[in-house]
Symmetry: C2
Subunit: 273 residues, 2 copies
């Protein structure tokens, strides 16, 4: 594969488009415009599940658009470090890229949706690296889930010379604790059943008291609360834990008026309307 498209002037364009964290109002103007022009909309989904990305863009797509679902071949991540999984998923991405290449070669503009931002933990990048050398390609950034979450919580996350570390909750407790102790601010992703471990790591790093738990970011059923008030039993996989740098540091080092200001966004146990 990877041969150049023979008739680039007739080929369609590939757009990797971030849909943002869930609220359709957080699409960019560019994303909405491209959706209204696209001949083909491709989206990743698990077989049998509705696509969240497709729901987000529903109001902006053309009625006659060609939908191309990209259905993951495996539904659990339990064996994702195994060779069989790796071969299956590589073959899947090859096949999906070939399907989109067919549309592009036929002159159709393709928008490949990505929840959040396409190149930030997004499956889109597997299409990008297979197609960007052959077709005119553009990536349209989207609001990340973490931005949606700290905005919903009204939580200043980093300021000045703060270091921010983005960590998957799948890391082991020792590594999580070390990394949490060595950064001003942190975002812990992929919480789900990792929550008890993440909580222990935060406690070991002395960061538990300022940690905020956010569930389903900017969706209508989203909510956020201090992690200390969240039980371990029912965290969805796509929930996040935010450890603020600036506000957390102010509150910890200066118990005066400035700390009160920093605590302004502390009225946290709220649901979005």
């Amino acid at each position: 594969m990877a041969e150049r498209d023979l008739h680039p002037q007739c080929s369609g364009r590939l757009y990797g488009v971030g849909t943002g964290p869930g609220d359709p109002d957080l699409l960019t103007l560019k994303a909405a415009r491209l959706l209204g022009q696209a001949d083909v909309i491709a989206y990743f989904a698990k077989a049998g599940n509705a696509s969240n990305a497709l729901r987000i863009v529903q109001a902006y797509r053309r009625d006659d658009v060609i939908e191309v679902p990209l259905l993951y071949p495996v539904t659990t991540e339990s064996h994702r470090h195994g060779d069989a999984y790796r071969q299956a998923i590589t073959a899947f991405y090859d096949q999906m890229a070939a399907e989109l290449a067919g549309h592009l070669s036929a002159g159709r503009d393709v928008v490949a949706l990505s929840e959040g931002d396409p190149l930030f933990y997004g499956s889109y990048m597997h299409l990008h690296v297979r197609l960007a050398s052959r077709f005119v390609t553009e990536v349209v950034p989207g609001i990340t889930a973490m931005s949606g979450c700290w905005s919903l919580a009204g939580l200043p996350i980093v300021q000045g010379d703060d270091v921010l570390t983005v960590l998957p909750g799948t890391l082991d407790e020792e590594e999580l604790a070390q990394r949490l102790a060595a950064t001003e601010a942190a975002i812990v992703m992929k919480i789900g059943r990792n929550l008890p471990k993440v909580r222990r790591a935060l406690a070991r790093a002395g960061r538990l008291d300022c940690a905020v738990y956010v569930e389903r970011g900017t969706m209508t059923e989203g909510r956020h609360l201090p992690l200390n008030r969240k039980t371990d039993d029912d965290a969805p996989y796509f929930s996040l834990v935010l450890v603020p740098g600036w506000a957390g540091r102010l509150a910890a080092t200066d118990p005066s008026a400035e700390a009160d200001k920093a605590n302004a966004p502390a009225d946290l146990e709220t649901s979005t309307s």
Copy 2:
């Protein structure tokens, strides 16, 4: 201060609105809508400098909107750890918050602009912590400069269980090198005159070869190229260095076809149109 507004039902609402990385097309639908409704638009700027945030939203604001420039009292950051600077900047934020509180109490909706994302290294957060407890406040996330940059460069930045570290280029060389060696992906912000030091730190961490330099993100004059091809002499303060996790790792560990795919976005020395 910090007393509750006495007539909340008559007060205006405060919106902290991210303008994204520079291209007005990367405003969110929500930001564009709020800009069309706002009575007051507040923006941070240095005295004598045009506001980049104001330029970004120009086409979306009302003709009769009240503009409130928030002019920083100091123009260099050289003494920003000193007490005098701290007092001056705290008094400045107090005064600006009081000015916006006047508009809000008078029933005017205020949009406070923030380049990028308001709570991610944005000055807006200093207003937020002073006003959010007194007025109805909402933060509208924006595309960060780093998202704009990796999208422009078409560079997959993190995947799977990658750790991402966001570092200010102002850290000392030793700390930069240690942190760069201990993360899969990194973003180094505030490059400017720190570029020679950042380059040495990347070399010590063994990450120089995959680092990408991006200047002026998604503005019309933006450009990106491998850091190895960028000279040290003229980096603007708001340039970034991207160290990709996934693509960089693939290229380093697997020189086969998969690495070729990962290198698809390697045609990097391009300017945006």
